[in-house]
């Protein structure tokens, strides 16, 4: 199960809509071992493509060094599919290299850059095996309740 604050959910969806028709990509970092996504880092899709995404290699290193300095890890790795469903492609599965991460896919195929609902789904991808998991969006009142 992926639990995600509404503000993070909204930020990911906004990023995906903004970059449509190219694929958008990024991560949500969180404290190592916590499984709590807390810090949204939108990344540039260096491939600039509607069917492929890749973090720029220099930005990738800077991102990981920053996470190591903060004792963080990538809790969520997200990207969008802009013409197909929010399900990992063979490319996504073959290149999934963070066994601890929640892989989030957002599909913007229905509304593109416009307002309107998106498909937002989360998966574990380990050793080429895809397992979908439920997504729970936490409203701020729920957060306060949970941390109280």
């Amino acid at each position: 199960m992926l639990r995600l604050d509404r503000r993070l959910y909204d930020a990911i969806v906004a990023h995906a809509k903004r970059d449509h028709p190219d694929e958008a990509c990024g991560i949500v970092a969180g404290a190592e071992g916590s499984d709590v996504p807390s810090r949204h880092v939108p990344m540039v899709n260096a491939a600039g493509s509607p069917t492929f995404y890749e973090f720029d290699s220099t930005e990738l290193l800077a991102l990981y060094k920053e996470m190591w300095a903060r004792d963080e890890e990538p809790v969520v790795i997200y990207h969008s599919h802009t013409a197909t469903e929010a399900y990992p492609s063979r490319t996504d599965i073959g290149l999934a290299n963070e066994p601890g991460a929640h892989y989030v896919l957002v599909s913007t195929r229905d509304h593109g850059n416009s307002e309107g609902p998106v498909e937002f789904r989360s998966y574990r991808i380990i050793d080429d095996e895809v397992t979908e998991e439920p997504v729970e969006i936490l409203d701020s009142s729920q957060n306060q309740h949970q941390s109280a």
Partner: protein, 102 residues
Amino acid sequence: MAIEVRIPTILRTYTGGEKAVDARGETLAALIDDLEASHPGIKDRLLEARDDGQSDLRRFVNVYVNDEDVRFTGGLETTLSDGDQVVVLPAVAGGSRPGPTA
């Protein structure tokens, strides 16, 4: 000549869970051979055979020496010195296209 090599999560099965290991070598190619001697199997995850029979870094594996991507510093021939920092990071990449080759 010890060089610290930062190992990504996905490859820590080869290093007994260690996040960083020491290795030796005057070039990146030699360093990877030394890594392979201590951590068998890891070389195949870093290198792939090219058409001409030589090895090259895998397309979706990034290696940095002192924060520079080795693709810009001579690839496997990149020279190393004592105290250099080597980081291995798999690319974060994917997309809806059917095959992973770029």
